[in-house]
Symmetry: D2
Subunit: 202 residues, 4 copies
């Protein structure tokens, strides 16, 4: 058994996403060997993260406060006047937004749900920003909302749930195109994907 | 080293698709243990395959000669009067046809290329049935051809090559829909697939 | 669904070790494309295997009949006068014998059990050549028997079972050395292997 | 692109063992969502690690200073009077010591090298505590030293190097037992491991 201070930190690192006990203990030994100056740097970077980064008031993507010179409370995408305000893309989390930005082919705005509705249990529904999304739609009034949740069971359930919630608002609701991904082979594609690919042929 | 008769058969089994030396030798020991009656059964089944199965004159899918009572030279799909003759789906190989049939959502006819054009080298072009496809199009005269090659580099090259070859024939040419497959997550999708999914939103 | 002759052969190939339905069907399409001359070659090789190869009367390893000019009924290892007859190594199957021969560091004789005792059920016990092994020991009268079964649960159970059966015969019984394999790291070794490696340090 | 404070912390997390860019960014979003109280807890745990944990003066395993009431500068294993001082087990790193302790079958003392000699380059040799090991041997004067480095190329090279360095000291040097690990199959074992397993049969 490792000493308490080590055990304590291993447990905290185990809560980090994807980290098991073995990697958590490697993190601790890494820190033990790290020169004090670099540990200080790490501690400072974590503290600064909490001090300098805020969530955007519109889309909930994190942004650096000091870059928001006019003190709008908005991230750089939401502040950008060249983005198309008639489009709103709803994603589950920050890295999904980042993935879509990397394609350089979407010019509208985003909204981060902060998760998905999971099994549609009461506590799952509180996991995502539904009221904030409704308020956002009223304020932005886009022509089209793209529900870009993952194509997992949880993501699909989330999109169906949001479709029902947003319907009364009268906005056009779309989903990302389904079909065969680049590099795929028909023989290994699942039936439903093939069915979608046949239906969406063009 | 195994005895010659074993070594010989191992080498023949190694030519089977996906089979390495270890599995090939396991096949031989499997046959050595198999009762003679079952070996006879296997040999008969291989011989019958070559005797009873022919390639369809239209689509090149293998079919059982004796089921073709009217001696049409056609497989059961091509013989089926209820299939939609205005549609022709071009695939690389038999198992791709089988995968599309399993979706139960395609009602047209097929054409099996017998491979792909690979790197577009001269010998690669002889790998696929281009002349047969052109003759088939003239005979069937479908309204729409679906180039359902794989979304791999070789499959895409094949589709581009066929598009160029078939253009003078004036038929409408389509491809399978691209996009996110069922079960996928945005974060792990490649950029091109995301781009296609955005373009094909609906 | 594939035609009957294809379906039949797919089912026979599915019985081959490690082969699932997809690979089995690829085997059939491979054979359909194969020139008739090569199919004839394959059929001949399978027939010759059953005609030319016999199991050694002593160790049950397969050998080529025609190489056994003196008609001893023995494989080349058992016929080899330079092999050490005071040692007998008992293995589960042919490929284990082959693996040990490749080390070029064992000079004794072998005995192939033909399997393992599995869960020690009655039918499992009939899976292995126990009576043949006892007869062999009486005939060869080696000084040392090495029970070289796998270190899996089934292999270990088989070794324990054989130890009990062979004890009355008064021969010295050994097992292969346990410990850390080449290339391994302590951190990823299981506890029992580490315990054995500590006990067997030298 | 993420804002600077996020990018900075992603880069620091990427230096953690086994962590790539995607996981590093997931760490940052995890911290952004974490309540401030838990971030404070994490920062405190990292600071305490550096303040409360020291490396043992004998074996270099980290230990909690406050548990060392008599202020010996030694970890709990080195302080334990019941451990066998005639045995010294030399390992590459902390987690190797932990793995051996879990077997509960080693009762001697340890020495952590802090790495391995890699390719035996000059800078690699400074990676490990050779002088400290020699000093330790003179102070402890054990009967037996177990060089329990990994069985990787680097670990083997390290053991060979240490054997040469320690030989003049006249202590008995042993290595961990090599052979087949629990659960292994002969067919898949590498030749050298099988050779060792044959040599170490018992």
């Amino acid at each position: 058994m490792y000493p308490k201070s080590i055990q304590k930190l291993i447990e905290l690192f185990r809560k980090f996403p994807t980290i098991g006990p073995r990697t958590a203990s490697r993190f601790v030994f890494y820190l033990l060997k790290l020169p004090s100056s670099e540990v200080v740097q790490l501690l400072a970077a974590i503290q600064q993260l909490k001090q300098l980064v805020k969530l955007c008031a519109w889309c909930f993507d994190p942004f650096e406060v000091k870059e928001d010179e006019a003190n709008t409370g908005l991230c750089s995408i939401c502040r950008d006047p060249s983005r198309d305000k008639t489009l709103l893309c709803v994603v589950e989390k920050e890295s999904d937004l980042e993935a879509l930005e990397k394609t350089k082919s979407y010019t509208g705005l985003y909204f981060i749900l902060g998760g998905n509705v999971g099994q549609l249990k009461k506590e799952d529904l509180q996991n995502i920003r539904v009221e904030e999304l409704k308020a956002r739609l009223k304020a932005q009034n886009p022509k089209e909302v793209i529900l870009a949740t993952n194509l997992t069971t949880e993501g699909e359930t989330t999109a169906l749930y949001l479709e029902r919630v947003l319907q009364p608002l009268g906005v056009e609701i779309k989903r990302l195109g389904r079909g065969l991904p680049i590099g795929s082979e028909l023989e290994y594609a699942d039936e439903e994907t093939l069915r979608q690919a046949l239906a969406a042929r063009r």
